[in-house]
């Protein structure tokens, strides 16, 4: 397997401009002859499908929800970054680029990140034009807030519902194209496999989630925009349906999977309340603009927060990271919270929580201002915990939230299978080992609105490949493979539910491949996951039939994939003998407990090749060359 990132020549500042002006184009009359399959209609997929249809391509789009408007992007709260420098506080394309690379602990590709920073400003313009009601100042201009890992204020937002508003913008653009017949939309349809013909991606196999009917679609290119895989941990902040099935099955067909161990554990989530909990809820990082994080100085302090005098509180982020304070990046903040709890200073049930306290801000700004900024988040917190955060500090704890890893893609967002493109959270491209807040929305929309329209054109213009129809034998073969898996799952008729297995897998993942990882723990996890996976295929109970609306069957297929992916995550974490960003190996840390990177041996992306079920995968590397940035120890002190 060859990993060629195909980074254009020229200086960092010239690459994208040059690429755009010299790339091969598809003639206007030929575009409609190309059928583009877009799987996933979250921010990345909806923006791509709408824009490609506008350009004239024939587009089919798929999502598993009943409507494109419900993709997981809808849940993003805090905001979206862009190097607009409206605040005149020193922002620039270079600074956004630099902070993103540094935030990712120098494990991302420079050229991709620079392009992301370059197109970021146009995203805001595009969204405003669509009618996204971003927050405004009294002057009528756009407002900004600050986010972790940055010293400037460049985050645009719409109350605590930025993802919702951006998605509704992209969804409305997509809807216009559907209404005009330029996009054929297939909601409640799940992709279960990729069809590869002569080494290129030529179609997909999908299941209609209402009737259970399985069928194939042929196309000239396939775009996977199917989101991240945090649900491998069972408990995460992702929507219940988020899954790795599309990217995992593409991986099994030959697409390399890069950096699977880079997962982001978000510091500000509501702690787990009980054993039956089905998901964790994020409290936006934007809260750290006005909330102060603390734990009692004494271990085992069971006093109510209000009874702990200021002198007996440890505002540990402000203490350890005076420059960034409560706005230290996510990986750093999460680990610090874990350390406090490990020291026995955690609060709430089981001692797994820290306070996020708004008392000082309320005293300074008044409750009205805080309500205006975060009202809906405070309400959500109260609804879930039954506690009023205007009166008592929130309790928060880290939770799996985002996955920086994903299918390997080149500069043009193409995977190792020609014709298979990967956009948004599903690819591995821009965030290295840790993503900064408000950068996922930016990346999803950059990929969909501004990158893929050029890079897909380059591929299609160059591919004179003959048209393929579903009558090609590769389609029958792939359909049969999908049918076999479904039948196998239904035939087990064991004694345990899908969820019970998923919970057990999640617990192993969280304990061994979560915030702190060790070689020993990871080795034992690989063995445990294999054993549990084998039991799954012998003892899972999937009720109902294949040709029916059957949510248990949907889950069963996804969990089967999580077993294989979970194992790969652990393997990747085990092979990466360093700590960087969200990947923290206990063996590699400084005397102060900070991540110890190893640039000599690990300044590369690891891309894994599937070799078959139960067989060891092959690890390939793409070296990362830093030409514009000097590798440095990442410090937020």
């Amino acid at each position: 397997m060859k990993l060629d990132a195909r980074i254009p020549a020229g200086s960092l500042e010239e690459k994208w401009t040059r690429y755009r002006s010299t790339v091969k184009l598809v003639g206007p009359n030929n575009k409609r002859k190309f059928h583009v399959i877009v799987v996933g209609t979250g921010l990345a997929g909806a923006s791509a499908a709408a824009t490609l249809a506008e350009l004239g391509y024939t587009v089919s789009a798929f999502c598993y929800q009943d409507s494109a408007r419900r993709a997981h992007s809808i849940a993003a709260q805090g905001g979206i970054n862009a190097a607009k420098n409206y605040q005149n506080d020193g922002d620039s394309v270079y600074r956004l680029f630099y902070e993103t690379v540094k935030g990712g602990d120098f494990r991302a590709r420079e050229a991709n990140v620079y392009r992301l920073a370059e197109v970021s400003a146009a995203i805001i313009d595009q969204c405003v034009a669509q009618g996204v009601p971003f927050a405004r100042e009294y002057s009528g201009t756009l407002s900004n807030r600050s986010f972790g890992g940055s010293l400037v204020s460049r985050t645009f937002y719409a109350r605590g519902q930025t993802g919702q508003q951006l998605l509704l913008g992209a969804y409305s653009a997509l809807s216009k194209q559907i209404g005009e017949g330029a996009v054929k939309m297939y909601p409640r349809t799940e992709m279960l496999d990729l069809v590869v013909v002569d080494g290129t991606a030529r179609g997909i196999v999908v299941r209609d989630l209402v009737t259970g009917k399985v069928e194939a679609h042929a196309g000239d290119a396939v775009l996977l925009c199917t989101g991240g895989y945090s649900n491998a941990f069972f408990l995460s902040t992702n929507a219940k349906g988020c899954n790795a099935t599309a990217i995992w099955r593409a991986h099994r067909r030959g697409a390399a999977f890069a950096n699977p161990c880079y997962t982001q554990i978000h510091p500000t989530c509501i702690p787990q309340a009980g054993p039956t909990q089905s998901k964790l809820t994020l409290m936006s990082e934007s809260l750290r603009n006005d909330g102060r994080v603390w734990v009692p100085k004494k271990t085992g302090d069971t006093r109510r927060p209000g009874d702990v005098p200021t002198g007996e509180r440890d505002y540990y982020l402000e203490r350890i990271y005076p420059t960034y304070g409560n706005l230290a990046p996510r990986d750093v903040s999460s680990r610090a919270a874990k350390r406090m709890c490990d020291e026995g200073r955690g609060v709430g049930p089981g001692g797994r929580g820290v306070y996020l306290d708004f008392a000082d801000s309320i005293a300074r700004l008044g409750e009205g201002v805080i309500r205006d900024r975060y009202g809906n988040l405070f309400e959500m917190y109260e609804r879930i915990t039954g506690e009023d955060p205007y009166k008592v500090p929130m309790r928060i704890y880290p939770a799996p939230h985002y996955t920086m890893g994903g299918l390997w893609v080149d500069y043009g967002l193409m995977s190792t299978i020609p014709g298979l493109f990967v956009l948004g959270e599903a690819n591995f491209s821009d965030h290295g080992a840790n993503r900064l807040g408000a950068s996922a929305l930016m990346q999803g929309l950059a990929d969909g609105y501004f990158v893929i329209p050029y890079t897909l054109g380059e591929y299609l213009a160059g591919s004179a490949g003959a048209k393929v129809t579903p009558s090609h034998p590769a389609f029958a073969e792939t359909l049969a493979a999908v049918a076999t898996t479904t039948e196998k799952l239904l035939a087990v008729k064991g004694s345990r539910s899908v969820d019970s297995f998923h919970r057990e897998l999640g617990a192993v993942m969280w304990d061994t491949c979560g915030m702190g990882r060790t070689a020993e723990g990871l080795k034992s996890a690989i063995a445990q996951i294999r054993a549990l996976g084998e039991r799954y295929w012998q003892d899972v109970r999937v009720p109902g039939a294949g040709e029916d609306f059957n949510p248990e069957l949907e889950k069963a297929g996804r969990v089967a994939d999580y077993f294989e992916l979970g194992e790969l995550m652990c393997r990747d974490a085990l092979e990466r003998n360093e700590s960087c960003g969200g990947h923290f190996r206990e063996e590699y840390q400084t005397a102060e407990g900070e991540a110890l990177r190893n640039d000599t041996d690990f300044c590369h992306a690891a891309a894994w090749e599937w070799t078959g079920p139960g067989k060891d995968p092959i690890r390939h590397v793409e070296p990362l060359a830093f030409e514009s940035i000097q590798l440095a120890t990442r410090s937020y002190k």
């Binding site: 809808i74 405003v128 669509q130 939309m185 998901k279 609105y449 248990e552």
Partner: protein, 259 residues
């Protein structure tokens, strides 16, 4: 706590459907209503019975997937709350709870508690957008928007498209949903050029989809998990009246029944 549940079971669109009673023990205060249904399903699977189908995804009150009628009220009796955010501490030991799907002519049942709300998507496809070709936008600050206007547009834009308004309306009208979309875009300067065409195209599509008409019951506002105000309906009516008076042509493909 222990609950007696009467849950609507319906195999498919053509099945008649009926309530089935389940006794469920060990329901915990911390659970959401959907986690309570997870628990029930876990037990049903254990007994070899088919679990109850219900729709959900984000479980944080934003995607609009979940939607159930709890004891006769869409999303239950807690104000401003979706069922995924409705916690069991609001129920008491021994309670009897009726759980049904959203019922409306325009929302046929697919299975058990799952309904087909795709009519909402088709209303948006008819005109619920601002046409803004990618890459053609002026600078985001080129057109100032007064903060109160932006805030009001956002109040309307918060709609999650769950359909509770339709389920609660004795006429099965979708006016609150539509009003939210029309107001969100109609308030902003970017939404002006297509404002009339949008109102007419969306209203006619709504009628075509079989939603009823609004006779001011205001039940929609009472159940809306995002507390969208019925005042937006007045805005919609104004836009629609104006559009009808001036009778602009509707762009091709957006007319009722189209696409």
């Amino acid at each position: 706590m222990k609950l007696t549940l009467h849950i609507w079971r319906q195999k498919n669109r053509s099945d008649e459907g009926r309530f089935v009673t389940y006794e469920l023990a060990d329901v915990d205060d911390h659970m959401s209503l959907l986690e309570m249904l997870d628990l029930l399903n876990e037990r049903l699977i254990g007994k070899g019975e088919e679990p109850v189908a219900f729709e959900h995804d984000c479980r944080e009150g934003i995607c609009g997937s979940c939607g159930l009628v709890i004891n006769g009220i869409a999303h239950g009796k807690e104000k401003g709350t979706t069922v995924c955010q409705l916690h069991m501490r609001h129920f008491a030991d021994g309670d009897v709870v009726y759980i049904e799907p959203f019922r409306a002519r325009a929302f046929p049942v697919i299975k058990d508690l799952v309904v087909d709300r795709s009519a909402f998507d088709r209303i948006v496809q008819a005109g619920g957008f601002v046409s803004a070709r990618t890459g053609s936008a002026p600078d985001g600050n080129a057109v100032p928007v007064a903060k109160p206007v932006a805030d009001l547009a956002m109040d309307a834009a918060e709609c999650i498209g769950c359909g509770a308004c339709v389920a609660a309306c004795p006429n099965g009208a979708a006016m609150l949903f539509l009003a939210a979309k029309i107001s969100h875009l109609g308030l902003l300067p970017q939404g002006q050029p297509e404002r009339s065409a949008r109102a007419r195209a969306m209203v006619s599509r709504m009628e075509y989809e079989g939603f009823g008409s609004c006779t001011n019951y205001r039940e929609c506002e009472a159940v809306c998990p995002k507390r969208i105000s019925v005042n937006f309906i007045a805005r919609l009516n104004r836009d629609f009246m104006k559009a009808s008076l001036f009778n602009e042509t509707i762009p091709a493909g957006k007319a009722a029944g189209g696409a």
